[in-house]
Symmetry: C3
Subunit: 472 residues, 3 copies
Amino acid sequence: MSEQLLSPDRFFSPDPGQRRVARELYEGIAGLPIVSPHGHVDPTLLADQDATFGTPADLFIIPDHYVFRMLYSQGVPLEALGIPRRDGGPVETDHRKIWQTFAEHFYLFRGTPSGAWLAHELYEIFGIKQKLNGATAQATYDELAAKLATPEYRPRALFERFKIEVLCTTDGAADSLEYHKKIRESGWGGVVRPTFRPDAVTNLALPAWKANLDALSAVVGREITTAKALITALEERRAFFKQMGATSTDSGVETPYTEAMSPADAEAIFARALAGVATAEDARRFTGYMAYEMARMSVEDGLVMQFHSGCYRNHNPLVFAKFGADKGHDIPVETEWVRNLKPITDAFGNNPNFTMILFTMDETGYSREMAPLAGHYPALKLGPPWWFQDSLNGMARYFDQVMETAGLYNTTGFIDDTRAFVSIPARHDVWRRASANWLAGLVVRGLIDESDAAEMAPDMANGLCRRTFKLG
Amino acid sequence: MSEQLLSPDRFFSPDPGQRRVARELYEGIAGLPIVSPHGHVDPTLLADQDATFGTPADLFIIPDHYVFRMLYSQGVPLEALGIPRRDGGPVETDHRKIWQTFAEHFYLFRGTPSGAWLAHELYEIFGIKQKLNGATAQATYDELAAKLATPEYRPRALFERFKIEVLCTTDGAADSLEYHKKIRESGWGGVVRPTFRPDAVTNLALPAWKANLDALSAVVGREITTAKALITALEERRAFFKQMGATSTDSGVETPYTEAMSPADAEAIFARALAGVATAEDARRFTGYMAYEMARMSVEDGLVMQFHSGCYRNHNPLVFAKFGADKGHDIPVETEWVRNLKPITDAFGNNPNFTMILFTMDETGYSREMAPLAGHYPALKLGPPWWFQDSLNGMARYFDQVMETAGLYNTTGFIDDTRAFVSIPARHDVWRRASANWLAGLVVRGLIDESDAAEMAPDMANGLCRRTFKLG
Amino acid sequence: MSEQLLSPDRFFSPDPGQRRVARELYEGIAGLPIVSPHGHVDPTLLADQDATFGTPADLFIIPDHYVFRMLYSQGVPLEALGIPRRDGGPVETDHRKIWQTFAEHFYLFRGTPSGAWLAHELYEIFGIKQKLNGATAQATYDELAAKLATPEYRPRALFERFKIEVLCTTDGAADSLEYHKKIRESGWGGVVRPTFRPDAVTNLALPAWKANLDALSAVVGREITTAKALITALEERRAFFKQMGATSTDSGVETPYTEAMSPADAEAIFARALAGVATAEDARRFTGYMAYEMARMSVEDGLVMQFHSGCYRNHNPLVFAKFGADKGHDIPVETEWVRNLKPITDAFGNNPNFTMILFTMDETGYSREMAPLAGHYPALKLGPPWWFQDSLNGMARYFDQVMETAGLYNTTGFIDDTRAFVSIPARHDVWRRASANWLAGLVVRGLIDESDAAEMAPDMANGLCRRTFKLG
């Protein structure tokens, strides 16, 4: 019956010829180790060998904004799904009830990537044998809860079962990385690396910017009162992260505007920010300047620079006020790369020591700007489809619009970027199937031959990623 | 021979496996009643039981700018197609001659949606047995004219033959709805409802704005001299439309800019408009304020708000001067939703009493902005591909780019938006075939199973639409 | 073995039904003469009957920025590929070594259009029997060099073997067209026509603008000191080009902004330009005015106006300083047509004497702006996918997004725009296969019948192009 819940040939073209080639390519890569160079898994899960995932609602629903936003869009209050309120006000605490609500709305995920991942998690990872819906909700809950209580379903056990070769977390500039230390010192063989993310102190527009800066001051042991001092602090923290195993940094910005700012301008803006009088334009320029400086530091210390652009955060003030950030109300916006990125490409685009990976949710840039840029500059690589575009169709559009111009070898392979640890193998499986299917399409159309495809498939599965992120 | 003119498996994937599933799903929905919640059919056609469609040229060519713009683009003067001039100057009046010109250029529609609809109308609805071209033009004219003279081809008879469950027209704020009254009072069983469209008085930039306002003043029985009075008048008219059966409103704008304006600003702009000195920026802001107020009213009276954005009207001054508006020279422009719509989503996006349907011809917003917005806000739903995008490929792109992120249940199903009454079943048939084919693609790729598909298909055919527009 | 290197059914859908129809349509058009109305082939190649292509590196690598940019993006210095430096500094001169580097990186072209063209050139035109890679590099070089030394592989011989009916070059306004004269006077039967390209003197922002203007002054025999004089000079040169066989002009601009400027404004800007104090905004406006004037001249002299828009030239200052323009660092940017083109469409869009062909690399305009514009204005036609979009997927997206709205007959068929003479048949072959496959897709989906397809295929292969460019 599990075979009916998850077709072994899922996501392949229905054409028998293409499907045969796709299946063969997929079989060659399905079992390769997972390289996961960027995501939002909480390292505390792996720091303690006895950590557990909690209830099925704790695992599948409450932390995953990909999931609860869909129920919210159909009128289910976030309180009913147990999403914690900022004011500590009452939300549903009966996780069986939350699960029932979820199951009754599971049909909303038909044809969505969340639906595909959840199916993989339930039917493959947890071995559930019946389709989830309102009628099967409680029996499913029982079975999941029972399995979650066993050692086989603890985070470290799943890390090993998933064959994760390396997992990189995302960590603020002021983070002590104590859980990374704990993991290292525990003697456990799993490789978990940090990633340096400075947004909290480089984006002056954040309400918590000053508090974030104070936290960074505390961790470097001196008050940061100038832009220059901030840059020095970032350099120190990058060195620490690198020593703790980091091979990359990550920046998330609304617009990819960058600027090689004069020290005088930078200090003037920083002073206004400290005085609480920085404008939105100040923040935009300073964020762009920090991106430029991050690129400059990458040239010097060799950390790979990830650059996620084009997300309007916290669009819904009511949801933000009640539940905070990362609650499913971030919306992509248009992203211009050619002019915005020029200060960085002018200065560092030809530098063999520099690798910058571009991510977008604005697909209009794929064929127009991103693929031509990556197909020219030695420093630029294109990350895989991100967030809303991390989907079966999103991948097909990416392959279609990027590969002809950029070439496969100017892309990075898959990066899961997940918050949901158990979705990692599901997400990589979608990518591997989509990749096998894309390559099979090239083969049956006579664009590449099967020996080319056999070399490209493992590169797409983990080789490109391992090399780009220097994790080899 | 009719089978050769219209393949029974048309629009389905050529893959035998997918085609089998698509055909089966289609057979289950092909005969379902048509729910047509928005379009531009003239209610006078249905108010008089003896009304007719006139000649074949009257029916197929003269009122349909989708059709004559294609011949115009290839050098056929609009005069030669009988399109009336604003100055009453001479145009072709021999409808046989117009038909001949049309038939000789019928090859221009190869592979276009107009071509597919016209084929359905000619070969299916009118039972024509030969392909239309210059040689068959006159014989076809004869046959069409003969049928149009019979009672079976009168508007009401076709309404019934088409199995139209409900048809909503589009009517100006000052409209008396007398033909709707006539239809209701005639005892005829067809359900025809009005839709409230206030553009004529909310868009200050229209040359006829003041005249339109005077007409509204006349119908409410008092002179409208302030923005506040205009809003009150709109509220009154909405109440009247609702009482006359309306369940929705419709706004058509060039940009979806919206604004929660202060009364002082609104009155200042309104005063400038009355004085004939309003600027383009005044008009843009006021239109955005009116959209905001329309949303507020919808929260209060429960009318569903349709919002069509992104059309540059009357691009060709020569054609406009000679023939006027709606003559095939409206061109889509870029449409930004995330920032423009925020005043409305901030105020009403979470309100369970509010439904706002977004329409665009700028497909770049599908995956970037619209699907993420609809996949979060309870109030937002996505309308189907509109106008130029209401086509087989347009639907495939919409399914591809919208459904994974928004989910099917945040979309509205099909809305035909037609001016050409006899194209209604053709348009719905394209959608139903495209939907069946899309669902079949999900089935054969293992994304959903056949039982899911069997539930989704009738929702796509009319269920989602009936529920969204409260026509159930 | 050649069959393995180049599948006879390449680029067709794997679906057996569609493939059968596609193959049949393709066979009907594969051998039709090539009409090449626009490209960058150097006429000197054809002016001398003994001209040769030089070494394999001279032919395939050094002049083709489509090729060397891909190796550059992966860290291969342009010097190692023999690309000449502006300062005459040292670059690799051993063409066998250059070829070896190229062959070792040939895998980078997997799945790219350059890869498909190179495969066609190597395996079909030059009859190479082994796959190119590092191991086969030198043997392949030997074989290519030997063939290039034979008369059969001289430019004129290949021109005839390729069945080129007409080839149009691109030539500056000040060009003497002496090589075109030579070709005409040589008695050789090949038809080679010039195309008038005024960019060098209409774009004030070019560093060499004044020098270019001086060259034009020299060729018209009087100093050009006013905008009016420039216009008169352009008119004279157009007349000369027309007399030399030109049927079209070409403009390449970053933005399609156009303006019907007052003479006073035009002269003021021109005076500032001569004084070396024109601003970027001056240049933008003047370029837009020159486009408007070029359209006006086309109405008068009947030359077809090609308009290539949306390319940010010379993005990489380091590569530009060292190697100059056209070195693989031109990047597409967003292109707005609806408002920018309005001065031209207002004045000339309905004129039966005017044909303007639009080209873009910004595909977002395809369905939103370009197809609706071409589907209305008699003067506007859409060129085929251009540059980065001149690829198998690029064509599929173009067919998908353009044809339903514009209709096939408002497009121009294929234009190769190549700099690489031997790639001409490869590029046309991709288009013909893609066209046959697209038409076959319409047939098997029941949108057109086989007799329609049989008429459309040769129009796509060369008929539309011949008629649009008045080359019939």
